[in-house]
């Protein structure tokens, strides 16, 4: 590959030209790791040298057990944190071997005794219930060896997985920390190194819940730790894409290893941890929008979905054209839960006649739960309860910190 200087108007960019999918564009990898694409007809290009990949000298560390450190299992599932760029196509592909951890982030071996374990090798858009079960069972096996857990996960669906595990991992005695990377680990701008460092550090605490630990800002200064049921990926590409919604983060972990907690340590569990695999799989998450037709709901009912999470508008509404079908579904035993596509705030179906009507039909208002969280919670709740009163009660009761009660109605 060639090192080039690109002139566009008054600006000059320098970097490595990498293969482009579209020959109309020149793609430049800058020294800070970012890529820029230019229309070839708008630029002037000077070749200034050949690019040679630097081979970093890696000092091999011996994985020696140190009694004074906690044990942390790093569970690999794939995703960008375990990915490399394919320079022939310019695309990123998964390529994780647990041993590479030591090359990538040698400093975590100072924080804990590290046990890498690869459970899956997928991009996280392909995460599903069967794979969640494999992860859940692996977590329990490791936890029962007294190891805290770090799960390296693709960022696309990390918050769905964190929420699912929050409801299904019971009696956790140690932290389960999900982390990932928005830039692949062989890019200089990768966030994987600090994310892994902070995640392992947090895993050595007594915060025995499922959390997500990712960059707190664009800088390599600290990570935020978010409750697994109160977090969302709110940006496609920024390092600080993950944000706590309707609450503050659990803690800040600085890159020097200091931890600042924003809340008290949860109570300890005396009973043995287990993975609760009683899951209702037929749940649908449906975003409501103007002109949505009732036929889609009829179809879901015909397909024997047992639960439907409505991502309603505003305080929790749907077009009234859906009411009859919702009634039909509820008559046939389908559970309907209401959340809001506004993301921030809480459902309140008492304010408008339309919300009250939906509640009369039997739709369950799900307070300040994120739609994605409500979806995974329904899988868990409908795996256990069949009676509508019990389902309603469980959906509106805090199981894993997913609900923050609020006395202010409006």
């Amino acid at each position: 590959m060639k090192r080039v200087k690109v002139r566009k108007g008054d600006n000059v960019y320098e970097g490595i030209e990498i293969p482009s999918v579209d020959e109309k564009y020149l793609v430049l990898k800058l020294d800070n790791g970012y890529n820029i694409a230019f229309r070839r007809n708008e630029i002037k290009v000077d070749i200034i040298g050949e690019f040679e990949k630097k081979s970093k000298k890696i000092e091999k560390k011996e994985a020696r057990y140190r009694k004074e450190l906690r044990d942390v299992s790093i569970i690999g599932t794939g995703g960008t944190i375990a990915s490399k760029i394919d320079y022939t196509t310019g695309a990123v592909y998964p390529a994780f071997s647990p041993e590479e951890l030591e090359k990538m982030v040698p400093e975590i071996f100072e924080l804990a005794n590290i046990y890498p374990r690869e459970v899956l090798q997928i991009l996280s858009e392909n995460m599903n219930i069967e794979k969640w079960k494999r992860v859940g069972n692996a977590v329990i096996e490791e936890i029962n060896k007294d190891r805290s857990i770090v799960i390296a996960h693709g960022t696309d669906t990390m918050h769905y997985t964190a929420s699912f595990l929050s409801f299904t991992l019971k009696n956790l005695s140690l932290p389960v920390v999900l982390t990932g990377s928005q830039r692949s680990s062989d890019r200089p701008s990768s966030d994987s190194r600090m994310n892994l460092f902070c995640s392992v550090k947090f895993a050595t605490t007594d915060y025995n819940k499922v959390v997500i630990c990712m960059h707190g800002t664009m800088e390599d200064t600290f990570c935020y730790v978010h409750k697994g049921v109160k977090v969302r990926k709110n940006h496609t590409s920024r390092r600080d894409a993950f944000q706590s919604v309707n609450t503050k983060p659990v803690a800040k972990v600085y890159y020097n290893g200091e931890i600042e907690f924003f809340e008290d340590m949860p109570a300890k569990h005396e009973k043995r941890a287990y993975f609760d695999d009683k899951i209702e799989e037929k749940i649908f998450l449906l975003k409501v929008f103007p002109n949505i037709a009732h036929e889609i709901l009829d179809f879901l009912i015909d397909q024997k979905y047992r639960g439907i999470v409505l991502e309603g508008t505003g305080l929790g509404h749907t077009p009234s054209i859906l009411y009859n079908t919702i009634k039909r579904g509820i008559d046939e035993g389908v559970t309907f839960c209401m959340t809001s596509q506004c993301i921030n705030g809480r459902v309140n179906m008492n304010v408008y006649q339309t919300g009250r009507k939906l509640m009369e039909l039997g739709v369950i208002p799900c307070k300040d739960m994120l739609p994605e969280v409500c979806y995974t919670k329904m899988m868990h709740v409908l795996g256990h309860a069949r009676e509508s009163d019990e389902i309603r009660k469980l959906m509106r009761t805090n199981i894993a910190g997913e609900i923050i009660e609020d006395t202010v109605i409006l």
Copy 2:
């Protein structure tokens, strides 16, 4: 109604007790207009007086034409901005008569010659294409009388409507400003007064595009004016729920009438404005999530949907289990557009193999377009184009400011 003092623990609240839907709760309207609900078994209540509704003395203004002012038509569609509380049920119901404007916000009559016109009386969750057409046609009638437009709209779907109108109102010579209210106008905490004031003020400028004008903060200090294709309701109840996404607002309108523009005035149109009602109605907006089954897509294709907006994960992905059905749809002439459920950021399907695969199938990556905007844009584009190449080109070309090009790919 009774004025009461409520003690809960060490806290004391004073206000008017208003009827509650659930007798287990006492609902208190505080003097600042907010309502609080208390569990009756957790509080002590003292009645301290009877509540009498203050009858404000309204000075009737004569709607007199003033030549030096611009003409502004206020189009009523319903929603909270035109709502009142029903004190017997505690619910809010629509109750708008154009004349009430003068009682509510007499100061707007100092800003412009006001022409109120009620087009709809609905809560905005019931907004749909037929109603959008009525609004669009009414806007053009008023614009062609040389009147700027303020549309009073429910907040649930205001951003969908703003986006729809942005694509379908052509050659606008004057501003079209949508506004609404998060609190009904007979509450002391209502935001409707300042929102209407700032909207009318902005309507008197030369910014000839569709915008949303709503509270910029929780305070009554200023409104932000957002592009109709770059804005979203991001909170269920806060006054500052509407936010510009992936761009900054157009302007700030202070409650004293000052306007601070953040961009240049758009070019003028010489041609006559019109409402372009060529709309493809069979468009579906589908949120993708882990475990989504391909049957739902098969159903939408069977139902003859012509366009499907995928609200994908991350940079624009779906589970690979959907690929075959997407291929089937594209083979049958269905257009698939990709947006991201992350909301912030932009789709980039070149980064991962999975994104590249979706592009090979023919899915159109929709840059930094919001899913809701992509949905209304597809209605417009598929109403005009039938050839897949033309559709692709139009979807990826800026029509109303919905795309912000960016040379940084990742």
